[in-house]
């Protein structure tokens, strides 16, 4: 208990300490704060090979695999010396904000798409110079790089969400082709339960961390938006948002989705047929195959988010940025250009299984011949990310809490929309 209380005091104390230290470290730098003015700079990347020293940060498995890709870059640019620092995902956000406040970020880095607004607002990111072919990227992914009209960095890899289903059980339930609209999905979930012996038709997250990523596709498909076009005002309390929430809630009220499922059992329940559908990203094909072995592989099917007004899914992934304080920006942008090249992206897929953000890279046989991946490619044509606003993480947390109330304690979709709107407005979009 001493250790107990002391450790806790240390947590709070060190947070305050870090903040104070950061405040001290930040003294005297006042020139480059604030967001961009909304116009793209006219600078461009120079000709010739990259030179000098570059430091690069990347998270998770990307951080471990990136050096292999950088070797190719070094072959084309012998004068450059690149150091890649891998960072664990859960420490990355703090490490970035600390480095930004202290003025010591790397030259270039991989950045999670939902952090772009925050980092740009901190005045840390260098606007993308001219000469990047933005038409090659998926639109949803490109949107994640834009903060208040200015583009920072480029999309690096993407992921999007589809409905996964058990082909064999679907056949048993009487579905030879996957559904395409809301009613169809509902009917399929029902048939899975009644005819194919499933406990629940579909696994949907009943609120909690990150559940907005599953709810928003339905809301977007019903025509809802998170903010108005200027990204200054939230638009959670609209009939369209309510329609999306209502559809989501109906799976719980009809007992087609459960609120009592233990977390992290999605794969196991998919394999044993208890819950033969769920909505998730491309990595799940691998983890389901791992949980179910060779027998399950031919029975994994995917289909696009069902249609209401549109059939919009969520797009996630990471962007690659250059920091404003870099002393070697020109070479850093050359690296970013190399990383966003279609050929590089195809070979990166083979190293990391990260899906390319550049459309043309999807023609590479390693992706085109996969039984599931082309469906993800098609879904990416209609996929959205939340707007790059500074306070997004905080708004998302409020959203998750209200969705939890809706799924678990029967709060009405109208009240849910209203509560999210009130909370989000109180939090504000942030920034200037």
């Amino acid at each position: 208990m001493f250790t107990h209380s002391i450790r806790r005091r240390l947590v709070i104390g060190s947070a305050a300490l870090t903040a104070a230290a950061l405040a001290l470290g930040g003294c005297g730098r006042s020139s480059d704060t604030g967001t961009g003015t909304g116009s793209q700079p006219t600078t461009s990347v120079s000709q010739g090979p990259a030179t000098g020293k570059l430091t690069v940060w990347a998270m998770g498995t990307e951080g471990e695999n990136l050096p292999k890709l950088i070797d190719q870059f070094k072959q084309a640019n012998p004068g450059v010396d690149v150091t890649v620092t891998p960072i664990p995902w859960d420490a990355a956000h703090d490490k970035f904000t600390t480095a930004i406040a202290a003025g010591t970020p790397p030259d270039a880095a991989m950045v999670g798409t939902t952090w772009m607004g925050e980092f740009a607002d901190l005045g840390a990111l260098d606007p993308t110079p001219q000469g990047f072919d933005n038409s090659g990227f998926y639109q949803g992914a490109l949107d994640t790089t834009k903060v208040s009209g200015t583009q920072y960095g480029v999309p690096w890899y993407v992921e999007t969400r589809l409905v996964f289903y058990r082909k064999d059980l679907a056949a048993k339930a009487g579905f030879s082709t996957p559904p395409t609209d809301w009613d169809g999905l509902k009917a399929m979930a029902k048939a899975m339960k009644e005819k194919a012996g499933a406990k629940y038709g579909i696994n949907l997250q009943p609120g909690g961390d990150g559940s907005w990523q599953t709810v928003m596709p339905f809301a977007w498909s019903a025509g809802a938006n998170i903010t108005n076009d200027a990204q200054k005002q939230f638009t959670f309390d609209t009939p369209e948002m309510q329609e999306g929430l209502k559809y989501y809630q109906s799976f719980f009220t009809d007992k087609l989705a459960g609120t009592d499922l233990p977390p992290n059992q999605t794969e196991a329940q998919f394999v044993n047929g208890q819950v033969p559908m769920f909505i998730s990203g491309p990595w799940m094909a691998g983890s389901v195959a791992k949980a179910g072995g060779a027998a399950i592989k031919p029975n994994i099917g995917v289909f696009q988010i069902p249609k209401n007004k549109t059939a919009t899914s969520f797009v996630g992934g990471s962007d690659f940025v250059v920091f404003k304080s870099s002393k070697n920006k020109d070479s850093a942008w050359k690296l970013v250009k190399f990383l966003s090249d279609a050929k590089t992206q195809a070979s990166w897929f083979k190293m990391s299984s990260d899906l390319p953000a550049v459309k043309s890279a999807w023609q590479d046989p390693s992706i085109a011949s996969d039984p599931l991946l082309p469906v993800f490619g098609k879904q990416l044509e209609d996929a959205k990310a939340p707007p790059a606003i500074v306070n997004w993480e905080q708004v998302a947390k409020a959203f998750d809490t209200e969705v939890e109330k809706m799924a678990k304690s029967g709060q009405s979709p109208a009240d849910t929309a209203k509560a999210i709107q009130t909370k989000a407005t109180a939090i504000g979009t942030g920034g200037s």
């Binding site: 001493f2 209380s5 104070a20 930040g26 006042s30 233990p262 500074v390 306070n391 809490t401 942030g430």
Partner: protein, 313 residues
């Protein structure tokens, strides 16, 4: 001789009797300050400074982005405090923390005292072994504990529900239910923490002379009476100490919900420390520090009351 020369005066001063206090004290004082200086500097830089800084922060509108321009923040008086107290989730967190303390502290102390008495009286032979066993959870990493408890409390095939199943009882989804999540965390916290209070109780019990009990025995008091009217009053300082330290620890309730439930379901296990920590994560430093200071004041008041109630007269 009316004129005293320089050298004479110096000679007088030099030969001043050693009992003259002025010079000696000042030399000692200087030495003391020199010796203490490293600590004072470190204390000011790493304890007092940040504490005052964070207190100051709680009266400003500082956000993450202000870290680069610390002079652009504005004083906002007590509005962070008002905002925290009006915040529905903060109030829920305060309720949860109170729930945890009110149930958790007495339970922990009762279990600890019970274990200490059993060890003191009963099992002389394997005392060391039991001490280690009961103390082990205190020194084990909370993350390792979380893995085990998640298995124990798992709704489908967890240990608790399997055992309940033998008696035909269908156990709830412990961590997924708004009713049961908090009691589950309390059970886990009691299990995890009673060992350290037990060690202190044991030391207290062993400090009570054998003769006190013998006197009680001669007067014809039964074992419960001896415990109630002799041992317990003599343990009072120990009880005060464990109540205060356990109380402070439990008021700062953080790790259990952080690793087990992330505050859910429906914020039913969010604690004040955890909510303040979340606000730090969102970059709302002003609001977060004000919450930390509200908690600080509550801890100070609760500790004061405990001292008042339990201190020896």
């Amino acid at each position: 001789m009316a004129v005293v020369t320089e050298s004479e005066a110096r000679a007088v001063r030099r030969s001043a009797p050693p009992g003259r206090p002025r010079r000696k004290v000042s030399r000692e004082t200087v030495a003391a300050w020199v010796l203490v200086l490293p600590f004072v500097v470190l204390f000011l830089a790493f304890t007092a400074g940040p504490v005052l800084g964070s207190l100051g922060m709680s009266f400003t509108d500082i956000k993450q982005r202000d870290l680069r321009t610390p002079f652009s923040v504005n004083g906002v008086g007590f509005s962070n405090y008002a905002k925290a107290l009006q915040d529905e989730t903060f109030r829920k967190a305060a309720f949860n923390t109170a729930y945890f303390v009110v149930l958790g502290v007495p339970l922990t102390l009762i279990v600890a005292l019970g274990a200490a008495v059993l060890l003191d009286r009963g099992v002389k032979r394997f005392q060391a072994l039991f001490k280690v066993g009961y103390y082990l959870p205190v020194v084990t990493s909370i993350v390792a504990i979380a893995v085990i408890w998640r298995f124990v409390l798992s709704p489908d095939n967890g240990l608790v529900n399997t055992v309940l199943g033998w008696f035909g009882i269908h156990g709830p989804n412990w961590l997924g239910s708004t009713t049961w999540a908090m009691p589950s965390l309390i059970a886990m916290a009691v299990w995890r923490n009673f060992g350290s209070a037990m060690i202190i109780f044991l030391a207290g019990l062993q400090g009570i002379p054998q003769s006190v009990e013998e006197a009680g025995q001669l007067d014809g008091a039964g074992s419960w009476q001896r415990f109630r009217y002799l041992i317990l009053p003599l343990l009072r300082p120990t009880v005060l100490f464990t109540t205060v330290t356990t109380g402070i620890g439990y008021l700062q309730f953080f790790e259990e919900p952080m690793v087990m439930t992330k505050g859910g379901p429906l914020n039913s296990t969010t604690s004040v420390s955890m909510y303040a920590y979340q606000q730090f994560g969102f970059g709302n430093y002003g609001l977060a520090t004000s919450m930390a200071y509200i908690l600080f004041v509550v801890i100070a008041v609760v500790t004061f009351i405990q001292f008042r109630l339990l201190k020896e007269k």
